[in-house]
Amino acid sequence: MSVVESHDIEFAAPRISEASVADYIALLKPRVMSLVIFTALVGLLLAPGHFHPVLAFTSILCIAVGAGASGALNMWYEDDIDAKMTRTANRPIPRGRVTKPEALTFGLVLSFFSVVTLGILVNWFAAGLLAFTIFFYVVIYTIWLKRWTAQNIVIGGAAGALPPVVAWAAAAGSLSVEPMLLFAIIFFWTPPHFWALALFRAGDYANAGVPMLPVTAGPDATRLQILLYTIVLVAVAFAPWPLGYFDAIYGVTSLALGGWMLLLAVRVYRQRTGSAALRASRNLFKFSILYLFALFAVLLLEVIVRGVIGMPA
């Protein structure tokens, strides 16, 4: 007789991942990452003094990986929301390609390596800012604000606005007015950009239970907020020229692009029903991407021109 009785034990088959490298790359939100790389590059090149190309490359790489890590951690936490929204249902976790623990581990490992590498190889001030950016995006925005308040993307927008500041800190070792201006431009650009998207995706957000402004306050209140934030954005983006921080090419471009952005925001405000309203918000959303890209591209051009003709920064 045995003291321990025998039982049939059924073992669940271990889950073997079939996730491809492409699935992990998708976790990094490559499109967001490309905008982060671009804005960070502008911040880095605008910074005063000589910065060795190897250190510049290292800084941009660390910022890009840090941004990607934030994306992975965002997808780890938001798999329930992503599964309910048509725009995000195809992401690796809702599709079952990557499990939540895998995404969490991936995000944490990349966060650690990006911050520590930037700290060791470049400077710890920039590394601290990068760590704060990741923390702000994942904890403050994703975990706390997004499901709690309609001001989620207003406050959370700070995380998206920090990459050029981190890059400036990496190159200069300190901060000054110019990176703050870059921060302000992206910060005030975020609400009209995301609310224009939320206007034509309001059903998706409502279904997922995300309190975006069109869901909580209605589309008309959102249209007013878009218009107000666009006015502030255009003023903030134009101000560096008369204040003497950026050159005339930037000032004129900012005015022209800002004028068009404002016109599209007015259209969103006035076109409130039917396909015209949908078209207006789509047009503003698409143009807002071009607006930010072009504004930073002009700054990049100014840096290159200065370098070619040998003008001081």
Partner: protein, 59 residues
């Protein structure tokens, strides 16, 4: 009396990967190896660039 199942336990094959699982695992391993390689090259390059200054840790 000895339980015949205890005397001769069934042979367990362990986890056998499907070709798709093997392929994705191999791809992931190569990606990790490349990432580590990039990290090594990066540390080497920055050490060369900084020279003795590599020991300076600015805030």
């Amino acid at each position: 009396m000895i339980d015949p199942q205890r005397a001769n336990p069934p042979v367990i094959d362990g986890v056998v990967l499907t070709p798709a699982q093997k392929k994705s695992q191999r791809e992931r391993s190569i990606a990790i190896a490349l990432a580590l390689g990039v990290l090594v090259i990066l540390f080497f390059a920055v050490t060369m660039v900084k020279g003795a200054g590599v020991l300076v840790r600015p805030m």
